[in-house]
Symmetry: C2
Subunit: 437 residues, 2 copies
């Protein structure tokens, strides 16, 4: 495709300019051992007997991960800043004071996390800088590696909190006041682990944001394609559903006289799957958490608290799913004789990423002679928040078996290295587009 | 009914023998203020903001309740013994060394308990003795008031543990090794709260055991009958069901590719109710507890642990229900692609109580001119364990609205006093049947 080659010449050849003197383009390659070694070192923190990585946001394990990351940033002589919501920014100075290019992701995990979700994007960012330094290369603009606070949102809601606050989508003070299930306040935890920084959230607005991540789904692995250029990201609706029944003795209360919150909860769980199947293809629905009160073997539950995670790449369809849920809960309340409350925990519309960055990612893959496909992200990512304030896009690599949020989460070393090399080339190509600060 | 009157004369008139000289039979009445006052004092320990009584077995609150009870026993000059499983026995000496009559129940509660379940039977036992003492009456045989350890079984399984061990149905050491959900060992907790006694379990075998309890069901209240003579008790089967699915990302895993433990759990919950309704009338089925792992909003659950409580007054029907559950879980395992384990937590066959004691209870009610009906107990009670080693039966009073294991649990004062008066007369009538020790 001539057009592609023209693009390649225009954007990538400048890397051979004098400031990169003596460096052959083909030499610019991520050190696989360094990348994997750092990933493994981070994964060892609070690793569970079943192999899970457990660095839930703002726990001691998260602090240990942050300390390790900050240590690596200092080794690379980056300017390290911690902002008011605890995001960590490592700045590599460029040849000009142009707006920086930001490479970001997160290092917090779910409680049964894998070794790659989040960590891969941050560590690959450091490896990009390490590679440039090894070759004595100074990019045309500053590069920033960002590790955002509480992307997973499994302890404090909403998820993607650090990038959301950074992008101005959530008030800093409101975020700091968030409480976990035990009533522990996020701001207090941030101070406790030593990451309540003073850098102003959003102070650095990049000219472009690129996030490298494992797919966490089965598409790339299933199709045998090693790379994805993520052009859209599906919308997310998180709801908490609370069902109020009546507690009673399990041995004396006739079935017909019960207002059993667990029975109503079971119907919600079953409905979630039926809804997704009925809406076909793109609609996903998950009940990941159920708490019964009092939760005792011989007591008919008086209360059930469930979470519902709905996702769809089309805003209209996501709204349709939400509306079906409302209708269902109304009917359920009547049929089961229970009271039902619904609370929105998070709501993000689908995102369209920057077409120019997506093209640059594709081009970088093609330079390396590797197949790449355009795709939609099923998961939420910090990139969707950064897309509010700057052009952004993502690079995906395959997840073996599509497995994620699971100790079995894995990506072949070859693909991890390839993804980082595409990130390196994408960032360099983008840096050629100098923008005045 | 002449036969009834004949029975009355034969059993109750001996109370007017010389050792009761000067006491008119009609004077022998429980002091309502004393009964209610003691119930309220016990209920105040660790009372929750919603009014629940929370004295879960072997917690600090249980200790406080025990301390209060032992104090009352000492005030009554009872001989107090704590046995090896922590059962508390208060002995009121009789005129002879005949085998004692035991009045028993428990003072532990579920975590959302009411003020009467268990406590009523124990405190009424003390009031029986207080009434006799007030009238200077010595019964023909010793009376023992027993408060059994861990009747509710919501922290340590099985339930009715203290009476089960006392009756030789569970090995003492096995019971002491029981662990709660956090791995805390029952024997350690018993020592910690100061109730690891040395009295041998089962050392005192009574000639009769009578338990006064609230019905915890809707029958007496619904029919407007103030008393029940419990002649049978339904069988109980408690099972723990563990479902092993696969954890995965809620935003990237197609519905068809999931092995979602929560979906399988929902089917078990729905099946439980369908089974009970299909088997009609007497079959009960309850899922009171569900735990999802990891239990996070955006992770497809890899594991679900549920409890299932099945009850039926007929052993054959209970076995049939258990067998349906086995078949259902086998089919579910295939249809959902999950592994399912089942563990029996407790299993008690239906019990038939002693017909003579049941008749004595009926007679005592009729002497007081109050209606009484024969009935089946829906709940498990210590009486069913004691029935293994001696003649036993129970007296029920109405639960308002059939509500129990709930802060709204209530019985009218009039009925509480009536139940205690029937207990008093039943015990005195039984005591006339002297048995050599």
């Amino acid at each position: 495709m001539p057009g592609m080659h023209g693009y390649r010449r225009a954007r990538v050849l400048p890397l051979k300019q004098p400031r990169c003197a003596g460096v052959m383009f083909t030499d610019l390659t991520i050190d696989e051992a360094g990348l994997l070694g750092s990933l493994e070192e981070l994964a060892r923190i609070n690793r569970q007997p079943d192999g899970s990585c457990r660095r839930v946001a703002l726990t001691d394990a998260d602090r240990s991960g942050r300390d390790l990351l900050v240590g690596w940033m200092h080794e690379l002589d980056l300017g390290v800043h911690v902002d008011q919501i605890g995001n960590i920014l490592g700045i590599y100075r460029g040849a000009s004071a142009a707006k920086p290019i930001m490479i970001g992701s997160h290092i917090d995990t779910v409680s049964t996390g894998g070794w790659l979700d989040g960590a891969y994007g941050v560590i690959a960012g450091l490896e990009v800088i390490r590679t440039l330094k090894r070759h004595g290369m100074t990019p045309r603009c500053p590069l920033v590696v960002a590790s955002f606070t509480n992307e997973e949102g499994c302890r404090f809601q909403p998820d993607m909190m650090g990038s959301l606050v950074y992008a101005g989508g959530l008030d800093l003070q409101a975020a700091l006041r968030s409480e976990d299930r035990d009533g522990v306040v996020l701001g207090d935890e941030l101070k406790r682990i030593g990451y309540a920084g003073e850098f102003r959230c959003g102070a650095l607005v990049p000219q472009a944001y690129v996030e490298l991540h494992i797919e966490q789904g089965p598409i790339l692995h299933g199709e045998g394609i090693p790379l994805g250029a993520v052009e859209t990201l599906q919308g997310i609706s998180w709801q908490q559903i609370t069902i109020h029944g009546t507690a009673n003795h399990a041995g004396t209360t006739p079935m017909s006289a019960r207002k059993d919150a667990a029975q109503a909860a079971a119907k919600v769980i079953s409905f979630a799957r039926e809804l997704a199947l009925r809406m076909r293809g793109q609609q996903l629905a998950t009940v990941g958490s159920v708490h019964l009160d009092p939760g005792i073997i011989n007591v008919v539950p008086r209360k059930a608290v469930l979470t519902l995670d709905l996702r769809n790449p089309l805003e209209a369809h996501l709204q349709q799913a939400e509306s079906h849920v409302v209708d269902f809960l109304e009917a359920l309340s009547v049929s089961e004789g229970v009271l039902i409350e619904k609370k929105q925990l998070a709501r993000f519309s689908p995102v369209t990423f920057d077409p120019e960055i997506v093209k640059t990612i594709e081009m970088s893959a093609r330079i390396l002679g590797k197949p790449i496909r355009r795709m939609t992200s099923g998961a939420g990512h910090d990139a969707q928040m950064m897309a509010r304030i700057c052009p952004a896009a993502m690079i995906f690599v395959p997840s073996v078996g599509g497995v994620s949020h699971n100790p079995a989460e894995h990506t072949e070393s070859e693909h991890l290295t390839l993804g980082a090399n595409v990130l390196l080339r994408t960032v360099l190509a983008l840096s050629e587009k100098r923008q005045p600060q």
